[in-house]
C-alpha cells in the first residue's frame, strides 16, 4: 500500500486541478478549520458557514500557493484572516436556527465522572473560555498539532510570541478545565462557585 500523500503534495495536485486531492484536503482539515473558527465565534452554524467560505478562498488561492511552508499553516492562516475579516464586517447578521443541534447532549449513563461526550464538552467549554489570543495559539498547537513554527506562520507572528501565548493559554486552560472537573465531582461546590443557592 502506498503511503498517504503529504498535505503539500495533495495541495499541489489540487492546484493542478485534481478535485479528489482537494476533497482529501477537506477530509483532513475540514473539521479542524471549522473547529478553529468555532472556538472563536462560539456558534457552530456560523463557524460552518465561515468554514465553507474559507475553503472557497483556499480553492481560489491554491493555484498561487507556493510550497515553501506547510500547507496546514497556510490553511489556518487563511482561516484566521477570514475570521478577522468576518468579525470586522458589520454586515453579517445573526442567524437563528430552529434545529436543536446545539442542545446539550444527554449525560451518558456511566460510573465515570465524565463520559466521552461530557468530557468533550468540558474540554470545549474550557477551551472556549480561554481568552484570546492564547486560545487560538493553544488550538493550533495542542489541538491541531501544528509546530510552533507552523503556528507562527498561521498567526503571522514570531515563534517566541507563539510560545508565550501557548504557555499562557495552557495554564488558563488547565485552570478552567480542572475547575470544571472539580465541579462535576462536587455539584454542590459547583453551585456555590456559581453563586446559586441550593
Amino acid at each position: 500500500m502506498n503511503p498517504p500523500l503529504s498535505d503539500e503534495q495533495l495541495a499541489l495536485d489540487a492546484a493542478a486541478g485534481s478535485r479528489d486531492a482537494f476533497e482529501e484536503l477537506v477530509q483532513r482539515f475540514g473539521a479542524a478549520v471549522r473547529g478553529v473558527l468555532e472556538k472563536n465565534v462560539e456558534d457552530y452554524h456560523l463557524a460552518f458557514d465561515l468554514a465553507q467560505e474559507v475553503w472557497v478562498k483556499v480553492f481560489r488561492a491554491l493555484p498561487r500557493w507556493q510550497p515553501t511552508g506547510s500547507f496546514r499553516s497556510w490553511l489556518f492562516s487563511v482561516a484566521l484572516n477570514h475570521l478577522r475579516d468576518a468579525k470586522r464586517s458589520k454586515a453579517r447578521s445573526r442567524i437563528v436556527y430552529l434545529d436543536e443541534f446545539r442542545s446539550a447532549p444527554a449525560a451518558p449513563k456511566s460510573n465515570d465522572p465524565r463520559g466521552r461526550l461530557e468530557e468533550h464538552a468540558a474540554i470545549t467549554a474550557a477551551l472556549t473560555a480561554v481568552p484570546e489570543p492564547y486560545r487560538t495559539a493553544v488550538v493550533l498547537v495542542d489541538v491541531n498539532g501544528l509546530s510552533y513554527e507552523e503556528a507562527a506562520d498561521s498567526l503571522g507572528c514570531a515563534v517566541g510570541t507563539v510560545k508565550s501565548r501557548v504557555n499562557r493559554g495552557r495554564f488558563a486552560f488547565k485552570d478552567l478545565y480542572l475547575r470544571q472537573e472539580g465541579d462535576a465531582r462536587d455539584p454542590a461546590r459547583a453551585s456555590e462557585s456559581r453563586g446559586v443557592s441550593s
Binding site: 477537506v26 479542524a32 475553503w55 495542542d142 495552557r170 488547565k174
Partner: protein, 468 residues
C-alpha cells in the same frame, strides 16, 4: 519568585523542547517543590486530555457540503473567466449556455452543424463548425462538402435545447445573418465519439488549453477535457466534457450592454437527436393520459378561469419578433406553432407557446399553474413527439423538484398546505385544485418560466447521460 520563573518553563518542559541543562534545572526544582510539582502535573493532565481529544474528524456530510460549495465556485470561476470576472449574478442574464449532445446512433455522412448567430449586441464570432470525428479523417472533396453542408443545414437544424433569455424584454432582431459553416464527416463509429473537430476561422484568436494561437483552415482535434476559447468582437468558449459532450459558452462583445438589455433569443442552434426525447415521451405516455384525465376532472370542479380572454394576464415572454431568415437553410423551420388556440390569439399572450424559429424548437410557458398545466396537457395531444417530450419533461421535473425542494411552493404558494402525493398525477392535481385564482405576481411568473427552461435542459442531459 523562583517558582514563578520555573513555571514559565513548564510548557516547554511538556513539549520536551528545553535544552538539557534547562530541563534538568526544571526537574530538580519539581523534585524539591511540592506546589510546583502539583501545578506541573495538573498542567500535564489537562494538556494531555486536550491533545488526546485531538482535532475533530470531518464528517462525510461536512465534506460533502464543502465540496458542493467548491463545485459551485469552480463553475462560477469557469464562467467568470469567460466573461472577464464579472459576478455570476450579473452574468445570469448575459451568459448563454447550452449542451451539445453527441449523436447516439450512427448517421452516415451527415454533418452536424453548429450555427452561430452573430447578433446585434456583438457576438462577432466568425462561423465555427463542429462535427464529430468518427475515427477517420474526412477525405471528401470541396463540392461534396458544400452539398453536404446545404443538406445538413436544411435537415439537421432541428430541435434544440435552448436557454431562455431574460423574460419581459423585447427581442431585438439580429443585424447580421447567421453564418453556417460545416464540412462533412465520415459516418461515426458505433461507439460514442471521443474526439471531435472544431474549425475556427483564421481571423480569430484561439486559446486552446492555455496555448494561444489563431484559427486556421485546418480543424482542431478536440478531446475530452479540452477547453478552447476564441475571441473576436465577442468571446466564446467550448469545453469538451466526458462522453463527447460540449458546453458552449459565449458572451457579447464589450462594451455591448449587459443585463438587463440582453434579452434576445438563443445565439446558438444545436443539432439534437430527438430520439431521447421520443423515448421519454413513449415512456411517459400512460402517465400523461392519466394526468390529462385528472386535470380535466379537477378543472371541471372548479370555476372556469379565463385564460385566452383574460386581458390582465400578460405573458412575461413577449413573442419573438420574427425576422425574415436570411439563410434558406433555416427559414424552412421558422414557422411559429401555437398551442391550444389560433396563433393570433396566443402568439403574444398565453400560457403555452411552442415555436420553431431559427434556433430550433422552443416551448414557452407563462402564467400560473392553473393556466399552464392544462395548456401543457393540451399540447400532449399533439402528434409532435418532440413537443410532447418537452412538455412531459417539464411536468415531470416539476414533480421531481417539488419532491426534492420543499421551498417549491414559491412557485405555487397555495400548494404548501395541500396534500401532494408522490406522483405527477398528484402534483398537478394539487396544483390545479389548490390554485383557486390567478393572482401570481410577475416575479412568480418569471421564476416559473426560468424554472421550466432549466427543466428542459436538465431532462435532456439526464436522458442522454443518465445523470444530471
Amino acid at each position: 519568585m523562583k517558582c514563578d520563573a520555573m513555571r514559565e518553563w513548564f510548557s516547554d518542559r511538556l513539549d520536551d523542547s528545553l535544552d538539557p541543562d534547562r530541563s534538568a534545572q526544571v526537574d530538580q526544582h519539581l523534585a524539591q517543590c511540592a506546589s510546583c510539582l502539583a501545578e506541573f502535573e495538573a498542567l500535564r493532565l489537562a494538556i494531555g486530555r486536550l491533545r488526546q481529544a485531538g482535532p475533530p474528524v470531518t464528517s462525510a456530510d461536512e465534506r460533502a457540503v464543502i465540496m458542493a460549495a467548491i463545485d459551485r465556485e469552480a463553475e462560477d470561476r469557469l464562467v467568470a473567466s469567460a466573461v472577464g470576472g464579472e459576478s455570476i449574478e450579473r452574468r445570469s442574464g448575459v451568459f448563454k449556455r447550452a449542451i451539445l449532445m453527441p449523436r447516439p446512433e450512427p448517421a452516415p455522412r451527415k454533418a452536424i452543424a453548429l450555427v452561430t448567430h452573430v447578433a446585434s449586441f456583438g457576438i462577432g464570432i466568425a462561423a465555427a463548425a463542429l462535427f464529430w470525428f468518427g475515427g477517420a479523417r474526412d477525405t471528401s472533396s470541396p463540392s461534396d462538402a458544400s452539398r453536404s453542408t446545404h443538406d445538413s443545414a436544411r435537415t439537421r437544424i432541428e430541435p434544440a435545447v435552448v436557454t431562455s433569455p431574460t423574460p419581459n424584454r423585447p427581442i431585438e432582431p439580429p443585424v447580421v445573418a447567421p453564418r453556417t459553416e460545416s464540412i462533412p464527416v465520415p459516418a461515426p463509429a458505433s461507439t460514442p465519439p471521443q474526439e471531435m473537430l472544431l474549425r475556427v476561422s483564421s481571423d480569430l484568436t484561439v486559446v486552446r488549453n492555455g496555448e494561444r494561437g489563431i484559427g486556421s483552415s485546418a480543424p482542431l482535434t478536440l478531446k475530452p477535457g479540452d477547453v478552447v476559447e476564441a475571441q473576436s468582437a465577442g468571446r466564446w468558449r467550448i469545453i469538451v466534457g466526458d462522453h463527447g459532450a460540449l458546453e458552449v459558452q459565449s458572451e457579447p462583445a464589450s462594451p455591448a450592454p449587459r443585463t438587463p438589455t440582453i434579452s434576445r433569443g438563443p445565439m446558438i442552434a444545436i443539432d439534437l437527436d430527438p430520439a431521447p426525447l421520443q423515448r421519454l415521451a413513449a415512456r411517459m405516455r400512460s402517465s400523461i393520459e392519466q394526468l390529462a384525465g385528472a386535470v380535466d376532472r379537477a378543472t371541471e370542479r372548479m370555476p372556469k378561469t379565463p385564460i385566452a380572454s383574460e386581458p390582465t394576464i400578460a405573458s412575461p415572454k413577449p413573442a419573438i419578433a420574427k425576422q425574415p431568415a436570411e439563410s434558406t437553410d433555416v427559414s424552412s423551420v421558422t414557422k411559429p406553432v401555437v398551442a391550444g388556440a389560433p396563433p393570433s390569439a396566443l402568439a403574444v399572450r398565453g400560457p403555452v407557446v411552442v415555436r420553431h424559429d431559427e434556433a430550433g424548437l422552443r416551448l414557452q410557458t407563462a402564467g400560473s399553474p392553473i393556466e399552464v398545466v392544462p395548456a401543457l396537457i393540451q399540447r400532449l395531444r399533439d402528434d409532435d413527439a418532440r413537443v410532447v417530450a418537452l412538455v412531459v419533461a417539464r411536468l415531470e421535473l416539476v414533480r421531481e423538484e417539488f419532491e426534492r425542494d420543499p421551498t417549491f411552493p414559491r412557485v405555487a404558494p397555495r400548494v404548501a398546505s395541500a396534500p401532494v402525493s408522490n406522483s405527477l398525477f398528484g402534483l398537478v392535481t394539487s396544483l390545479v385544485a389548490s390554485t383557486p385564482s390567478v393572482n401570481q405576481t410577475e416575479d412568480t411568473y418569471a421564476y416559473w418560466n426560468r424554472w421550466f427552461d432549466t427543466c428542459a435542459d436538465a431532462i435532456v442531459a439526464r436522458e442522454t447521460y443518465g445523470t444530471w
